[in-house]
Symmetry: C2
Subunit: 107 residues, 2 copies
């Protein structure tokens, strides 16, 4: 029953997942699914390209390490700039939601 996600929100969601500390890709997907009560289901083919974007933009850094399960994993960590970006995207998103709600409630 896990649906797709709202386009244009993935980067923000990923950044948000990293706000409390570094995670690896698989962990990010799990986290989003869990916190959203299974509503958000980020496929790996959406997630990894997104992480590449974030790396390229300098919002996150990556470092290889070992997971809790003793497996090789790549940990992504929010940079200072990334944290600002998260805040900005959050503001902009809120702005959009307010605007959309206005339209929808005008029915």
């Amino acid at each position: 029953m896990g649906n797709d996600l709202l386009p244009g929100t993935l980067d923000m969601l990923v950044l948000s997942s990293l706000a409390r500390g570094a995670r690896h890709g698989y962990g990010i997907a799990q986290h989003l699914k869990k916190i959203s009560a299974e509503v958000l289901d980020v496929g790996e083919s959406s997630l990894y390209p997104a992480l590449q974007r974030l790396l390229l933009s300098g919002w996150v850094t990556a470092e290889w390490g070992a997971s809790e399960n003793n497996r090789r994993a790549r940990y992504y960590k929010l940079t200072a700039v990334g944290r600002k970006q998260l805040a900005a995207e959050n503001r902009e998103f809120a702005r959009m939601i307010v605007a959309i709600q206005k339209v929808m409630s005008c029915v």
Copy 2:
């Protein structure tokens, strides 16, 4: 300062614009801009393809007529199925927003 819009929401916004009665394309764009306090700015190159989609799906019908300004205009009208679709998209959207908020507030 009118930005783009949140991808994946255009069809819903257009349907919502037609909930109270028929409008022509130009009027829909104006309405969205006005109600959203200039936040939502739907370009015509986004709007008309969207209307084509809605026509093709049967959510709306179109009819040529004259605008208030005595100009030739194409009026789009919500169908019964379109109204159901609007309700469904609205529900789904709300579901997504709740899920996203959960993730964002977990920071």
